[in-house]
Symmetry: C2
Subunit: 458 residues, 2 copies
């Protein structure tokens, strides 16, 4: 779809230059909020309020929600109090909270001043919950029913109160604020007769999360149980809000991005790539680069220690990069597979022996194939074709034995560290390629010089 | 939740050994389909039909959908034709297709024989679409309305036909099989009066995908536009099915896993970690390991070529791992960031110059900090504390200059290759750590020996 936006965008830029506001309005009203937001992100900040005023009230608010925080801030600063109040009236509480979280204090004050008292209270409540908890992503607007209501009354209640609710499709049956069941609009509409009571058709024992459940776990449960919305309860099983599927989808996307960033040795960032400045990139990348560089000191020390052996047979040096890379790649394969399985809840710590045993067998298979291939390559290419000085069958043997042992160590280290990290309460994603590579580098050199000493009598 | 299942599971195992089937039944009926499936995956395959028969018809079918294909196959082989027919009657078409796709031919024949003719026809139609296309994940069961219907009639139609539909919450307004709009149950229920026509409250110009749209793009659009379901149309805008949010969530999870696997140098796998045999792991890992090992020949060649220089100053060897690792890490950071941005549609090929310029500036920042740090480390640790032979200020300078230049090259290569790969129609995820590392290794060695030759007069 980006290509599609581009064209509309260029058209709008031209229309804007020509001040054809009626035409612009006619174009904008045909567009989806997410697309309006995309167009607005490429417009001069001063022109935003002008364009924004062209939109009908509801579309304006919906598009506002979809914008990046930079444009939101520019807009809030550019519109009047009464315009801001209109936007706030249309917003769902969870969206309002998302916006408030990104704004500087003076803008937040203006937003709260223009929200109605109930909204203000709810925004403040949600802001109390820890970041990334179910409480912080939930909305407090949902349909409440009582167990004794008839189906007909329930439908009437939905029709009367539904307009402000983020979803009406799952309704929550409360008894004294305690959640006793959920009922879908589908089962209400398809109920055999309107005089049945809600508790006779509701799902008792609904799946819930608490306000402190991690948002990643919330999204995973919604995906596992195919839920449109999941109820959030407090410590006493009193219902406080719901998380809807659209927020769960965003969470899944964000969490996958975060895992991928951590696995590549970066601290996770909230900004999209194009919105990140070079300094942002630098800030998120330098800590791991520096740490890993310094820890490569050990690899250097190992080589320094065996320097006299390398002097005796410089040909050995040429195989160091291949051994280190293959070890690093083998280790990252295992660690990344295990990290992903952990993050999808497919593995638990008690599976560790099973995982290690599986990796050992896979490593033996990989190690044998790679060693044979490597032996053939050294004899054919290095010895027979290139006649590299000092390369003979014994050197090939040392390299291949190192290869096999390194692959084995790498795979065991690679699968074990993420599981240990999770057990100790760290993010297992930290134990991915860069970290594993540094450890495996040192291991492979030790093994290499060990075999070289023993077999080549250096 | 896994801990929770474990307990129930152990209890059920005990009950099963004691043949307390009534109790087992009472426990199972309180459980959610996904949890029943989890329990079943840990039960002896021969006992599956027995347990399955304890479940009420609807729960049985819903649990069946959630099972892994191994258990599904064992079950189908263990139950009678009439039991299989009952399950098929309860399934949605898209779930039936998912099951059929995983089964061997003789099981597929039995499934099709026990499906009603309409279901059979729809299964066969969906099976025609390419793997991972919208057509292959859609369901053909949705609510159809006509533009001229009144709101009251529309609600009646939903109540009459809704029971077999996967979602009733978004209804599709068709005019001669052409999709002219969508209308939500929310807007039907909240419509000011029941005599309004559907076309007066529907959303015209709905967002659609075609049968051949990639499933990843489908999921991304649903997430972007917050859609519960997205209509799938054929080349002539005739409506053929819908994709629902629960399938989109599964697709998002699977696609993230696939990207992560490819980025770690593995061919993607459909099986969960614990279900994969060591040979499965081997099969998915060996191609890249072997390819990357062989391509490390070039790094070896570079070292061999400069062997006489290394002989003259063996101290240089000790810095090779650090330079290669830092280069590799820098390159993977950029490549992984760009790959993720590409896969979230945040970047396009025309952004390449912008991306390169941003990476160059980030690389200069990283390069300067790392070089200074590295210089300090070499002088303090290697020279002043360890008195490593041959390490002096000039050597430190060569290492640091190499570091800065390598980081720069690595970041430019790292951001460029994924974008080029995508432009040429390859999966950009291939251009992640392992591949980038191999290229950057060679680059860093060339730079290193270049500086060494020039500055140390070797």
């Amino acid at each position: 779809m980006p290509e599609h936006n581009v064209t509309v965008e260029n058209t709008l830029q031209t229309l804007l230059a020509e001040k054809k506001y009626t035409t612009i309005r006619d174009v904008l009203v045909t567009m989806n909020p997410a697309d309006v937001a995309a167009v607005f992100s490429n417009v001069d900040k001063e022109k935003l309020p002008l364009l924004f005023r062209l939109l009908p009230k509801e579309q304006a608010a919906q598009s506002f929600v979809e914008m990046e925080s930079e444009e939101q801030e520019a807009l809030i600063r550019g519109i009047s109090d009464s315009e801001l109040r209109q936007v706030m009236d249309e917003l769902y509480v969870d969206d309002a909270v998302d916006i408030v979280e990104e704004m500087p204090a003076n803008v937040v004050q203006r937003i709260l001043a223009q929200s109605d008292p109930e909204m203000r209270k709810e925004i403040n409540e949600i802001l109390q919950y820890p970041e990334n908890s179910a409480g912080s992503v939930m909305t407090t607007e949902y349909v409440k029913l009582s167990p004794g209501m008839t189906v007909g009354d329930a439908i009437l209640r939905i029709r009367r109160t539904g307009v402000d609710k983020e979803t009406i499709y799952t309704c929550y049956v409360l008894d004294n604020r305690l959640l006793v069941g959920t009922v879908s609009v589908k089962s209400l509409l398809l109920a055999p007769n309107d005089l049945m009571t809600v508790d006779s058709i509701m799902e008792a024992n609904p799946i819930t999360v608490t306000t402190h459940t991690d948002q990643e776990e919330v999204a995973r449960m919604m995906s596992k149980y195919n839920l449109l919305a999941i109820p959030v309860v407090d410590g006493d099983n009193r219902m406080v809000g719901i998380v809807t599927f659209d927020d769960a989808m965003d969470v899944m996307e964000d969490e996958a991005t975060e895992d991928i960033e951590i696995m590549a040795g970066m601290t996770p960032s909230d900004k999209t790539y194009l919105k990140s400045s070079p300094f942002d990139l630098f800030k998120h990348r330098i800590p791991w680069l520096a740490l890993l560089m310094v820890s490569a000191t050990f690899t250097g020390l190992i080589i320094s220690n065996f320097e006299h052996k390398l002097e005796a047979l410089v040909a050995l040096t040429a195989f160091i990069p291949m051994l280190m890379d293959t070890g690093g790649n083998s280790g990252s394969q295992s660690s990344v597979t295990v990290i992903r399985a952990l993050s999808l809840n497919e593995l638990e710590f008690r599976d560790l022996p099973k995982v290690i045993w599986k990796e050992i067998r896979a490593a033996v298979l990989c190690g044998v194939v790679l060693s044979v291939l490597c032996f053939a390559k050294i004899i054919l290419v290095d010895k027979m074709i290139l006649h590299t000085e000092g390369v003979d069958v014994m050197v090939a043997l040392v390299v291949c034995l190192t290869m096999a042992v390194t692959v084995l160590c790498a795979k065991v280290v690679g699968c074990t560290l993420p599981m240990l990290a999770k057990k100790m309460g760290f993010d297992p994603a930290v134990m991915a390629s860069p970290f594993i590579t540094t450890i495996v580098d040192a291991l492979s050199l030790l093994v290499y010089f060990g075999f070289a000493t023993a077999l080549l009598h250096l």
